[in-house]
Subunit: 193 residues, 3 copies
Protein backbone atom coordinates (compact mmCIF):
# COMPACT_ATOMS: atom_id res chain seq x y z
CA UNK A 1 0.00 0.00 0.00
CA UNK A 2 2.84 2.44 0.79
CA UNK A 3 4.30 2.38 -2.76
CA UNK A 4 0.81 2.89 -4.22
CA UNK A 5 0.23 5.88 -1.95
CA UNK A 6 3.68 7.28 -2.76
CA UNK A 7 3.05 6.87 -6.50
CA UNK A 8 -0.36 8.53 -6.20
CA UNK A 9 1.16 11.49 -4.33
CA UNK A 10 3.93 11.76 -6.92
CA UNK A 11 1.52 11.75 -9.85
CA UNK A 12 -0.75 14.28 -8.11
CA UNK A 13 2.26 16.56 -7.55
CA UNK A 14 3.37 16.14 -11.17
CA UNK A 15 -0.12 16.99 -12.42
CA UNK A 16 -0.60 20.18 -10.38
CA UNK A 17 2.94 21.41 -11.09
CA UNK A 18 2.24 20.71 -14.77
CA UNK A 19 -0.88 22.89 -14.54
CA UNK A 20 1.20 25.74 -13.07
CA UNK A 21 3.65 25.53 -16.01
CA UNK A 22 0.98 25.14 -18.68
CA UNK A 23 -1.03 28.08 -17.34
CA UNK A 24 2.03 30.34 -17.15
CA UNK A 25 2.73 29.55 -20.83
CA UNK A 26 -0.90 30.29 -21.77
CA UNK A 27 -0.76 33.60 -19.88
CA UNK A 28 2.43 34.46 -21.77
CA UNK A 29 0.61 33.74 -25.07
CA UNK A 30 3.01 30.92 -25.98
CA UNK A 31 1.97 28.36 -28.59
CA UNK A 32 1.10 24.73 -27.87
CA UNK A 33 4.75 23.63 -27.75
CA UNK A 34 5.62 26.33 -25.24
CA UNK A 35 2.73 25.06 -23.12
CA UNK A 36 4.08 21.49 -23.29
CA UNK A 37 7.67 22.54 -22.53
CA UNK A 38 6.77 24.68 -19.50
CA UNK A 39 4.29 22.08 -18.20
CA UNK A 40 6.85 19.26 -18.42
CA UNK A 41 9.64 21.42 -16.98
CA UNK A 42 7.53 22.32 -13.93
CA UNK A 43 6.09 18.81 -13.57
CA UNK A 44 9.25 16.75 -13.94
CA UNK A 45 12.11 19.15 -13.12
CA UNK A 46 12.12 18.82 -9.33
CA UNK A 47 11.92 15.03 -9.29
CA UNK A 48 14.60 14.74 -11.98
CA UNK A 49 16.91 17.02 -9.96
CA UNK A 50 16.32 14.88 -6.85
CA UNK A 51 17.04 11.62 -8.70
CA UNK A 52 20.15 13.04 -10.40
CA UNK A 53 21.56 14.19 -7.04
CA UNK A 54 20.81 10.81 -5.45
CA UNK A 55 22.34 8.99 -8.44
CA UNK A 56 19.05 7.12 -8.96
CA UNK A 57 19.32 7.15 -12.78
CA UNK A 58 17.58 7.21 -15.17
CA UNK A 59 15.19 9.35 -13.07
CA UNK A 60 11.70 8.05 -12.31
CA UNK A 61 10.32 10.35 -15.03
CA UNK A 62 12.17 8.28 -17.66
CA UNK A 63 11.65 4.84 -16.12
CA UNK A 64 7.90 4.59 -16.67
CA UNK A 65 5.47 6.40 -18.91
CA UNK A 66 3.09 7.47 -16.12
CA UNK A 67 4.89 10.66 -14.98
CA UNK A 68 5.31 11.83 -18.55
CA UNK A 69 1.65 11.13 -19.34
CA UNK A 70 0.57 13.00 -16.19
CA UNK A 71 2.65 16.00 -17.29
CA UNK A 72 1.28 15.88 -20.85
CA UNK A 73 -2.25 15.58 -19.44
CA UNK A 74 -1.67 18.72 -17.37
CA UNK A 75 -0.41 20.51 -20.50
CA UNK A 76 -3.58 19.49 -22.37
CA UNK A 77 -5.86 20.58 -19.51
CA UNK A 78 -4.11 23.97 -19.26
CA UNK A 79 -4.30 24.43 -23.02
CA UNK A 80 -8.02 23.68 -23.39
CA UNK A 81 -9.47 24.66 -20.00
CA UNK A 82 -7.37 27.62 -18.86
CA UNK A 83 -10.49 29.83 -18.68
CA UNK A 84 -12.04 27.60 -16.03
CA UNK A 85 -8.79 27.22 -14.06
CA UNK A 86 -8.21 30.97 -14.02
CA UNK A 87 -11.54 31.45 -12.27
CA UNK A 88 -9.82 29.93 -9.21
CA UNK A 89 -7.89 33.20 -8.78
CA UNK A 90 -4.10 33.22 -9.08
CA UNK A 91 -4.12 29.68 -10.42
CA UNK A 92 -0.41 29.40 -11.25
CA UNK A 93 0.51 30.06 -7.62
CA UNK A 94 -2.26 27.88 -6.27
CA UNK A 95 -1.19 24.80 -8.23
CA UNK A 96 2.44 25.61 -7.56
CA UNK A 97 1.75 25.61 -3.81
CA UNK A 98 -0.04 22.25 -4.02
CA UNK A 99 2.81 20.68 -5.97
CA UNK A 100 5.29 22.16 -3.51
CA UNK A 101 3.66 20.47 -0.55
CA UNK A 102 3.53 17.08 -2.25
CA UNK A 103 7.05 17.21 -3.66
CA UNK A 104 9.03 18.53 -0.70
CA UNK A 105 7.76 15.65 1.42
CA UNK A 106 8.45 13.12 -1.34
CA UNK A 107 11.98 14.48 -1.83
CA UNK A 108 12.86 14.46 1.87
CA UNK A 109 11.50 10.94 2.36
CA UNK A 110 13.44 9.60 -0.63
CA UNK A 111 16.61 11.31 0.60
CA UNK A 112 16.32 9.64 4.01
CA UNK A 113 15.66 6.27 2.38
CA UNK A 114 18.89 6.74 0.35
CA UNK A 115 20.83 7.29 3.55
CA UNK A 116 21.58 11.02 3.48
CA UNK A 117 21.55 12.85 6.81
CA UNK A 118 18.53 14.78 8.18
CA UNK A 119 19.81 18.28 7.35
CA UNK A 120 20.75 17.28 3.80
CA UNK A 121 17.47 15.39 3.32
CA UNK A 122 15.64 18.57 4.26
CA UNK A 123 17.64 20.50 1.65
CA UNK A 124 16.91 17.78 -0.91
CA UNK A 125 13.20 17.99 -0.11
CA UNK A 126 13.23 21.75 -0.56
CA UNK A 127 15.11 21.39 -3.87
CA UNK A 128 12.62 18.76 -5.08
CA UNK A 129 9.77 21.06 -4.13
CA UNK A 130 11.12 24.23 -5.67
CA UNK A 131 13.24 22.78 -8.53
CA UNK A 132 10.49 22.33 -11.10
CA UNK A 133 8.98 25.75 -10.43
CA UNK A 134 12.41 27.41 -10.58
CA UNK A 135 13.16 25.73 -13.95
CA UNK A 136 9.74 26.84 -15.24
CA UNK A 137 10.40 30.43 -14.18
CA UNK A 138 13.96 30.45 -15.55
CA UNK A 139 12.74 29.22 -18.95
CA UNK A 140 10.03 31.91 -18.93
CA UNK A 141 12.75 34.45 -18.06
CA UNK A 142 11.28 35.63 -14.75
CA UNK A 143 12.77 35.69 -11.26
CA UNK A 144 11.69 32.38 -9.66
CA UNK A 145 8.66 32.63 -7.35
CA UNK A 146 10.78 31.03 -4.62
CA UNK A 147 12.93 34.18 -4.46
CA UNK A 148 10.00 36.56 -4.31
CA UNK A 149 7.54 34.92 -1.95
CA UNK A 150 8.80 34.29 1.55
CA UNK A 151 5.86 32.08 2.45
CA UNK A 152 6.74 29.87 -0.49
CA UNK A 153 10.18 28.84 0.69
CA UNK A 154 8.98 28.66 4.29
CA UNK A 155 6.27 26.18 3.32
CA UNK A 156 8.80 24.00 1.51
CA UNK A 157 11.16 24.10 4.46
CA UNK A 158 8.47 23.22 6.99
CA UNK A 159 7.19 20.39 4.82
CA UNK A 160 10.60 18.86 4.20
CA UNK A 161 11.84 19.28 7.78
CA UNK A 162 8.56 17.93 9.11
CA UNK A 163 8.84 14.86 6.92
CA UNK A 164 12.41 14.24 8.10
CA UNK A 165 11.45 14.74 11.73
CA UNK A 166 8.37 12.53 11.57
CA UNK A 167 10.05 9.78 9.60
CA UNK A 168 12.07 8.29 12.49
CA UNK A 169 8.90 8.22 14.62
CA UNK A 170 6.97 6.51 11.85
CA UNK A 171 9.85 4.13 11.13
CA UNK A 172 10.21 3.27 14.84
CA UNK A 173 6.51 2.58 15.06
CA UNK A 174 6.52 0.40 11.95
CA UNK A 175 9.68 -1.42 13.02
CA UNK A 176 8.29 -2.06 16.51
CA UNK A 177 5.10 -3.44 15.07
CA UNK A 178 6.98 -5.83 12.79
CA UNK A 179 9.20 -7.04 15.67
CA UNK A 180 6.13 -7.42 17.87
CA UNK A 181 4.31 -9.50 15.26
CA UNK A 182 7.33 -11.76 14.75
CA UNK A 183 7.97 -12.30 18.47
CA UNK A 184 4.36 -12.47 19.54
CA UNK A 185 4.61 -9.38 21.76
CA UNK A 186 1.39 -7.78 22.77
CA UNK A 187 0.24 -5.03 25.05
CA UNK A 188 -0.96 -6.11 28.47
CA UNK A 189 -4.46 -7.47 28.39
CA UNK A 190 -7.02 -6.95 31.04
CA UNK A 191 -6.54 -9.51 33.83
CA UNK A 192 -8.62 -12.61 33.46
CA UNK A 193 -8.90 -12.60 29.65
Amino acid sequence: MAPTLSLALDLAGIFVFGLSGGLLAVHRRMDVFGVIVLALAAALGGGALRDVLLGDLPPEALRSAAPLLAGLGAAAVSFFFHRYLDRLGSAVRLFDAMGLGLFCVAGAVKGVSFGVGPLQATLLGVMTGVGGGALRDLLANQVPLVLEREIYALAALVGAAGAVALLPAAATATGLRIVAMRRGWHAPRAPGT
Copy 2:
Protein backbone atom coordinates in the same frame (compact mmCIF):
# COMPACT_ATOMS: atom_id res chain seq x y z
CA MET B 1 30.82 1.58 -39.32
CA ALA B 2 27.82 2.44 -37.15
CA PRO B 3 29.91 3.91 -34.28
CA THR B 4 31.97 5.93 -36.78
CA LEU B 5 28.80 7.33 -38.35
CA SER B 6 27.30 8.04 -34.92
CA LEU B 7 30.48 9.83 -33.81
CA ALA B 8 30.60 11.87 -37.03
CA LEU B 9 26.95 12.93 -36.57
CA ASP B 10 27.66 13.83 -32.92
CA LEU B 11 30.69 15.95 -33.78
CA ALA B 12 28.80 17.65 -36.63
CA GLY B 13 25.95 18.47 -34.22
CA ILE B 14 28.41 19.76 -31.61
CA PHE B 15 30.13 21.96 -34.19
CA VAL B 16 26.99 23.61 -35.59
CA PHE B 17 25.48 24.12 -32.11
CA GLY B 18 28.82 25.65 -31.11
CA LEU B 19 28.55 28.07 -34.05
CA SER B 20 25.06 29.11 -32.89
CA GLY B 21 26.40 29.89 -29.39
CA GLY B 22 29.56 31.63 -30.57
CA LEU B 23 27.64 33.82 -33.04
CA LEU B 24 25.07 34.80 -30.41
CA ALA B 25 27.92 35.93 -28.14
CA VAL B 26 29.53 37.91 -30.98
CA HIS B 27 26.19 39.60 -31.76
CA ARG B 28 25.88 40.51 -28.07
CA ARG B 29 29.39 42.09 -28.23
CA MET B 30 30.75 39.69 -25.61
CA ASP B 31 34.50 39.21 -25.36
CA VAL B 32 36.44 36.10 -26.38
CA PHE B 33 35.60 34.24 -23.16
CA GLY B 34 31.91 34.90 -23.53
CA VAL B 35 32.19 33.45 -27.05
CA ILE B 36 33.87 30.32 -25.69
CA VAL B 37 31.37 29.89 -22.83
CA LEU B 38 28.27 30.26 -25.02
CA ALA B 39 29.76 28.07 -27.78
CA LEU B 40 30.60 25.26 -25.33
CA ALA B 41 27.26 25.58 -23.50
CA ALA B 42 25.31 25.23 -26.77
CA ALA B 43 27.62 22.54 -28.17
CA LEU B 44 27.90 20.27 -25.13
CA GLY B 45 24.84 21.09 -22.99
CA GLY B 46 22.29 18.83 -24.65
CA GLY B 47 24.51 15.77 -24.77
CA ALA B 48 25.63 16.30 -21.18
CA LEU B 49 21.98 16.53 -20.04
CA ARG B 50 21.18 13.29 -21.90
CA ASP B 51 24.15 11.43 -20.39
CA VAL B 52 23.40 12.71 -16.87
CA LEU B 53 19.77 11.54 -17.12
CA LEU B 54 20.84 8.13 -18.44
CA GLY B 55 23.49 7.84 -15.71
CA ASP B 56 26.19 7.40 -18.39
CA LEU B 57 28.83 9.35 -16.45
CA PRO B 58 31.19 11.08 -16.96
CA PRO B 59 29.32 12.30 -20.07
CA GLU B 60 30.82 11.71 -23.51
CA ALA B 61 31.98 15.34 -23.59
CA LEU B 62 34.40 14.59 -20.72
CA ARG B 63 35.48 11.10 -21.83
CA SER B 64 37.40 12.10 -24.95
CA ALA B 65 38.89 15.37 -26.14
CA ALA B 66 37.11 15.35 -29.54
CA PRO B 67 33.78 16.92 -28.47
CA LEU B 68 35.54 19.66 -26.53
CA LEU B 69 37.89 20.39 -29.46
CA ALA B 70 34.91 20.52 -31.85
CA GLY B 71 33.21 23.04 -29.54
CA LEU B 72 36.37 25.14 -29.19
CA GLY B 73 36.84 25.01 -32.98
CA ALA B 74 33.30 26.35 -33.43
CA ALA B 75 34.09 29.14 -30.93
CA ALA B 76 37.21 30.07 -32.92
CA VAL B 77 35.35 30.01 -36.25
CA SER B 78 32.56 32.22 -34.86
CA PHE B 79 35.09 34.61 -33.37
CA PHE B 80 37.17 35.10 -36.53
CA PHE B 81 34.70 34.48 -39.37
CA HIS B 82 31.36 35.78 -38.03
CA ARG B 83 31.11 38.25 -40.94
CA TYR B 84 31.04 35.42 -43.46
CA LEU B 85 28.63 33.29 -41.44
CA ASP B 86 26.22 36.18 -40.98
CA ARG B 87 25.91 36.48 -44.76
CA LEU B 88 23.93 33.23 -44.57
CA GLY B 89 21.02 35.20 -43.08
CA SER B 90 19.81 34.40 -39.54
CA ALA B 91 22.84 32.23 -38.91
CA VAL B 92 22.22 31.53 -35.21
CA ARG B 93 18.86 29.94 -36.00
CA LEU B 94 20.17 28.12 -39.06
CA PHE B 95 22.97 26.38 -37.16
CA ASP B 96 20.68 25.82 -34.22
CA ALA B 97 18.20 24.00 -36.48
CA MET B 98 20.95 21.81 -37.95
CA GLY B 99 22.21 20.85 -34.51
CA LEU B 100 18.67 20.18 -33.39
CA GLY B 101 18.08 17.63 -36.13
CA LEU B 102 21.33 15.79 -35.45
CA PHE B 103 20.97 15.78 -31.65
CA CYS B 104 17.34 14.81 -31.24
CA VAL B 105 17.93 11.65 -33.27
CA ALA B 106 21.15 10.88 -31.38
CA GLY B 107 19.40 11.39 -28.02
CA ALA B 108 16.39 9.22 -28.86
CA VAL B 109 18.57 6.42 -30.24
CA LYS B 110 20.80 6.43 -27.15
CA GLY B 111 17.72 6.40 -24.90
CA VAL B 112 16.33 3.32 -26.63
CA SER B 113 19.71 1.59 -26.42
CA PHE B 114 19.71 2.26 -22.64
CA GLY B 115 16.34 0.56 -22.34
CA VAL B 116 13.96 3.46 -21.70
CA GLY B 117 10.48 3.19 -23.24
CA PRO B 118 9.52 4.77 -26.59
CA LEU B 119 7.63 7.77 -25.15
CA GLN B 120 10.41 8.58 -22.71
CA ALA B 121 13.09 8.08 -25.40
CA THR B 122 11.24 10.63 -27.52
CA LEU B 123 11.28 13.08 -24.60
CA LEU B 124 14.98 12.40 -24.06
CA GLY B 125 15.66 13.05 -27.75
CA VAL B 126 13.80 16.36 -27.60
CA MET B 127 15.71 17.34 -24.44
CA THR B 128 19.04 16.43 -26.07
CA GLY B 129 18.08 18.51 -29.11
CA VAL B 130 16.87 21.58 -27.25
CA GLY B 131 19.00 21.37 -24.06
CA GLY B 132 22.16 23.03 -25.38
CA GLY B 133 20.25 25.84 -27.08
CA ALA B 134 18.13 26.44 -23.98
CA LEU B 135 21.25 26.66 -21.78
CA ARG B 136 22.84 29.07 -24.30
CA ASP B 137 19.74 31.28 -24.23
CA LEU B 138 19.40 31.15 -20.43
CA LEU B 139 23.03 32.24 -20.00
CA ALA B 140 22.47 35.09 -22.48
CA ASN B 141 19.36 36.04 -20.49
CA GLN B 142 16.81 35.64 -23.31
CA VAL B 143 13.68 33.46 -23.53
CA PRO B 144 14.83 30.19 -25.14
CA LEU B 145 14.14 29.90 -28.87
CA VAL B 146 12.29 26.65 -28.15
CA LEU B 147 9.57 28.63 -26.36
CA GLU B 148 9.18 31.20 -29.11
CA ARG B 149 9.33 29.23 -32.33
CA GLU B 150 6.67 26.58 -32.71
CA ILE B 151 8.33 24.98 -35.70
CA TYR B 152 11.46 24.52 -33.59
CA ALA B 153 9.92 22.22 -31.01
CA LEU B 154 7.86 20.49 -33.67
CA ALA B 155 11.00 19.64 -35.63
CA ALA B 156 12.64 18.19 -32.53
CA LEU B 157 9.56 16.14 -31.72
CA VAL B 158 9.24 14.75 -35.24
CA GLY B 159 12.93 13.90 -35.38
CA ALA B 160 13.00 12.16 -32.02
CA ALA B 161 9.70 10.30 -32.50
CA GLY B 162 10.75 9.29 -36.01
CA ALA B 163 14.00 7.89 -34.73
CA VAL B 164 12.19 5.90 -32.02
CA ALA B 165 9.64 4.59 -34.51
CA LEU B 166 12.18 3.63 -37.15
CA LEU B 167 14.61 2.06 -34.72
CA PRO B 168 12.71 -1.22 -34.14
CA ALA B 169 12.41 -1.66 -37.91
CA ALA B 170 16.11 -1.05 -38.40
CA ALA B 171 16.99 -3.25 -35.43
CA THR B 172 14.75 -6.07 -36.70
CA ALA B 173 16.35 -5.83 -40.10
CA THR B 174 19.86 -5.87 -38.68
CA GLY B 175 19.10 -8.69 -36.26
CA LEU B 176 17.46 -10.79 -38.97
CA ARG B 177 20.46 -10.34 -41.22
CA ILE B 178 22.84 -11.44 -38.48
CA VAL B 179 20.76 -14.54 -37.67
CA ALA B 180 20.46 -15.31 -41.36
CA MET B 181 24.20 -15.10 -41.86
CA ARG B 182 24.87 -17.35 -38.86
CA ARG B 183 22.34 -20.02 -39.83
CA GLY B 184 22.92 -19.85 -43.56
CA TRP B 185 19.36 -18.75 -44.31
CA HIS B 186 18.74 -17.29 -47.72
CA ALA B 187 15.78 -16.06 -49.69
CA PRO B 188 14.32 -18.54 -52.17
CA ARG B 189 16.31 -18.77 -55.36
CA ALA B 190 14.91 -19.17 -58.81
CA PRO B 191 14.31 -22.88 -59.54
CA GLY B 192 17.11 -24.66 -61.32
CA THR B 193 19.95 -22.47 -60.01
Copy 3:
Protein backbone atom coordinates in the same frame (compact mmCIF):
# COMPACT_ATOMS: atom_id res chain seq x y z
CA MET C 1 47.03 15.91 5.82
CA ALA C 2 46.10 16.23 2.14
CA PRO C 3 42.38 15.39 2.71
CA THR C 4 42.25 17.83 5.62
CA LEU C 5 43.78 20.57 3.44
CA SER C 6 41.43 19.72 0.56
CA LEU C 7 38.41 19.82 2.88
CA ALA C 8 39.54 23.15 4.37
CA LEU C 9 39.94 24.66 0.89
CA ASP C 10 36.51 23.33 -0.12
CA LEU C 11 34.80 24.76 2.94
CA ALA C 12 36.58 28.10 2.49
CA GLY C 13 35.40 28.20 -1.16
CA ILE C 14 31.85 27.29 -0.13
CA PHE C 15 31.82 30.01 2.52
CA VAL C 16 33.06 32.86 0.31
CA PHE C 17 30.79 31.83 -2.60
CA GLY C 18 27.94 31.73 -0.10
CA LEU C 19 28.78 35.30 0.94
CA SER C 20 28.63 36.41 -2.71
CA GLY C 21 25.15 34.89 -3.08
CA GLY C 22 23.82 36.14 0.23
CA LEU C 23 25.06 39.70 -0.42
CA LEU C 24 23.55 39.75 -3.91
CA ALA C 25 20.19 38.79 -2.38
CA VAL C 26 20.51 41.49 0.28
CA HIS C 27 21.35 44.10 -2.38
CA ARG C 28 18.25 42.99 -4.34
CA ARG C 29 16.14 43.50 -1.18
CA MET C 30 15.13 39.83 -1.05
CA ASP C 31 13.82 38.39 2.22
CA VAL C 32 15.63 35.92 4.46
CA PHE C 33 14.67 32.92 2.30
CA GLY C 34 15.95 34.57 -0.86
CA VAL C 35 19.22 35.16 0.99
CA ILE C 36 19.44 31.48 1.95
CA VAL C 37 18.52 30.24 -1.56
CA LEU C 38 21.07 32.45 -3.36
CA ALA C 39 23.77 31.74 -0.77
CA LEU C 40 23.31 27.96 -1.05
CA ALA C 41 23.04 28.09 -4.86
CA ALA C 42 26.32 29.98 -5.15
CA ALA C 43 28.04 27.96 -2.43
CA LEU C 44 27.04 24.45 -3.48
CA GLY C 45 26.14 24.74 -7.19
CA GLY C 46 29.60 24.40 -8.72
CA GLY C 47 30.63 21.41 -6.62
CA ALA C 48 27.29 19.69 -7.21
CA LEU C 49 27.68 20.17 -10.99
CA ARG C 50 31.20 18.71 -10.82
CA ASP C 51 30.07 15.68 -8.80
CA VAL C 52 27.05 15.04 -11.07
CA LEU C 53 29.26 15.12 -14.19
CA LEU C 54 31.79 12.76 -12.58
CA GLY C 55 29.00 10.44 -11.42
CA ASP C 56 30.20 10.84 -7.82
CA LEU C 57 26.68 10.74 -6.35
CA PRO C 58 25.16 11.86 -4.02
CA PRO C 59 27.42 14.94 -4.32
CA GLU C 60 29.72 15.90 -1.45
CA ALA C 61 27.25 18.61 -0.43
CA LEU C 62 24.70 15.90 0.47
CA ARG C 63 27.10 13.37 1.98
CA SER C 64 28.07 15.34 5.06
CA ALA C 65 26.52 18.26 6.89
CA ALA C 66 29.66 20.46 6.81
CA PRO C 67 29.22 22.00 3.32
CA LEU C 68 25.58 22.79 4.00
CA LEU C 69 26.40 24.33 7.39
CA ALA C 70 29.17 26.43 5.79
CA GLY C 71 26.67 27.70 3.19
CA LEU C 72 24.03 28.44 5.84
CA GLY C 73 26.69 30.21 7.93
CA ALA C 74 27.55 32.40 4.95
CA ALA C 75 23.84 33.20 4.49
CA ALA C 76 23.59 34.23 8.17
CA VAL C 77 26.73 36.37 7.98
CA SER C 78 25.49 38.15 4.83
CA PHE C 79 22.09 38.69 6.40
CA PHE C 80 23.32 40.22 9.65
CA PHE C 81 26.66 41.79 8.69
CA HIS C 82 26.17 42.99 5.10
CA ARG C 83 26.97 46.60 6.12
CA TYR C 84 30.44 45.60 7.24
CA LEU C 85 31.10 43.40 4.22
CA ASP C 86 30.02 46.11 1.80
CA ARG C 87 32.71 48.41 3.19
CA LEU C 88 35.18 46.12 1.40
CA GLY C 89 34.04 47.65 -1.92
CA SER C 90 32.36 45.50 -4.56
CA ALA C 91 32.03 42.64 -2.11
CA VAL C 92 29.98 40.29 -4.29
CA ARG C 93 32.73 40.24 -6.92
CA LEU C 94 35.50 40.02 -4.36
CA PHE C 95 34.10 36.91 -2.67
CA ASP C 96 33.15 35.48 -6.03
CA ALA C 97 36.75 35.79 -7.19
CA MET C 98 38.05 34.10 -4.04
CA GLY C 99 35.63 31.20 -4.43
CA LEU C 100 36.55 30.94 -8.09
CA GLY C 101 40.22 30.45 -7.36
CA LEU C 102 39.57 27.78 -4.73
CA PHE C 103 36.96 25.88 -6.73
CA CYS C 104 38.57 25.77 -10.18
CA VAL C 105 41.63 24.12 -8.68
CA ALA C 106 39.50 21.69 -6.63
CA GLY C 107 37.42 20.77 -9.70
CA ALA C 108 40.40 20.20 -11.97
CA VAL C 109 42.20 18.10 -9.38
CA LYS C 110 39.13 15.93 -8.74
CA GLY C 111 38.64 15.49 -12.50
CA VAL C 112 42.21 14.23 -12.94
CA SER C 113 41.81 11.88 -9.98
CA PHE C 114 38.68 10.44 -11.65
CA GLY C 115 40.69 9.73 -14.79
CA VAL C 116 39.43 12.34 -17.24
CA GLY C 117 42.00 13.79 -19.67
CA PRO C 118 43.86 17.08 -19.07
CA LEU C 119 41.79 19.22 -21.48
CA GLN C 120 38.51 17.91 -20.05
CA ALA C 121 39.76 18.26 -16.46
CA THR C 122 40.51 21.92 -17.21
CA LEU C 123 36.96 22.37 -18.52
CA LEU C 124 35.60 20.63 -15.42
CA GLY C 125 37.66 22.92 -13.19
CA VAL C 126 36.31 25.99 -14.97
CA MET C 127 32.74 24.67 -14.66
CA THR C 128 33.23 23.98 -10.95
CA GLY C 129 34.59 27.49 -10.50
CA VAL C 130 31.92 29.33 -12.45
CA GLY C 131 28.93 26.97 -11.96
CA GLY C 132 27.76 28.23 -8.57
CA GLY C 133 28.09 31.88 -9.56
CA ALA C 134 26.27 31.26 -12.85
CA LEU C 135 23.39 29.53 -11.03
CA ARG C 136 23.23 32.42 -8.52
CA ASP C 137 23.06 34.96 -11.36
CA LEU C 138 20.49 32.94 -13.37
CA LEU C 139 18.22 32.71 -10.32
CA ALA C 140 18.58 36.48 -9.77
CA ASN C 141 17.74 36.98 -13.46
CA GLN C 142 20.94 38.74 -14.49
CA VAL C 143 23.51 37.86 -17.16
CA PRO C 144 26.16 35.75 -15.37
CA LEU C 145 29.31 37.64 -14.33
CA VAL C 146 31.35 35.07 -16.26
CA LEU C 147 29.91 36.38 -19.53
CA GLU C 148 30.56 40.02 -18.71
CA ARG C 149 33.98 40.09 -17.11
CA GLU C 150 36.80 38.75 -19.25
CA ILE C 151 39.24 38.62 -16.37
CA TYR C 152 36.83 36.36 -14.54
CA ALA C 153 36.85 33.51 -17.02
CA LEU C 154 40.55 34.00 -17.67
CA ALA C 155 41.31 33.56 -13.97
CA ALA C 156 39.28 30.35 -13.86
CA LEU C 157 41.01 29.01 -16.95
CA VAL C 158 44.49 29.80 -15.65
CA GLY C 159 43.71 28.27 -12.27
CA ALA C 160 42.26 25.07 -13.68
CA ALA C 161 44.91 24.64 -16.39
CA GLY C 162 47.64 25.39 -13.88
CA ALA C 163 46.31 22.77 -11.51
CA VAL C 164 46.17 20.18 -14.29
CA ALA C 165 49.69 21.06 -15.47
CA LEU C 166 51.21 21.00 -12.00
CA LEU C 167 49.46 17.85 -10.92
CA PRO C 168 51.61 15.38 -12.90
CA ALA C 169 54.72 17.01 -11.44
CA ALA C 170 53.33 16.76 -7.93
CA ALA C 171 52.10 13.21 -8.53
CA THR C 172 55.46 12.16 -9.96
CA ALA C 173 57.21 13.61 -6.95
CA THR C 174 54.86 11.91 -4.50
CA GLY C 175 54.99 8.60 -6.36
CA LEU C 176 58.78 8.69 -6.55
CA ARG C 177 59.01 9.34 -2.84
CA ILE C 178 56.75 6.41 -2.04
CA VAL C 179 58.72 4.06 -4.30
CA ALA C 180 61.95 5.36 -2.83
CA MET C 181 60.73 4.74 0.70
CA ARG C 182 59.61 1.21 -0.14
CA ARG C 183 62.80 0.26 -1.96
CA GLY C 184 65.18 2.07 0.31
CA TRP C 185 66.45 4.41 -2.46
CA HIS C 186 68.24 7.49 -1.37
CA ALA C 187 70.10 10.33 -2.97
CA PRO C 188 73.87 9.96 -3.08
CA ARG C 189 75.46 10.81 0.17
CA ALA C 190 78.67 12.59 0.63
CA PRO C 191 81.54 10.12 0.41
CA GLY C 192 82.71 8.72 3.70
CA THR C 193 79.40 9.08 5.56
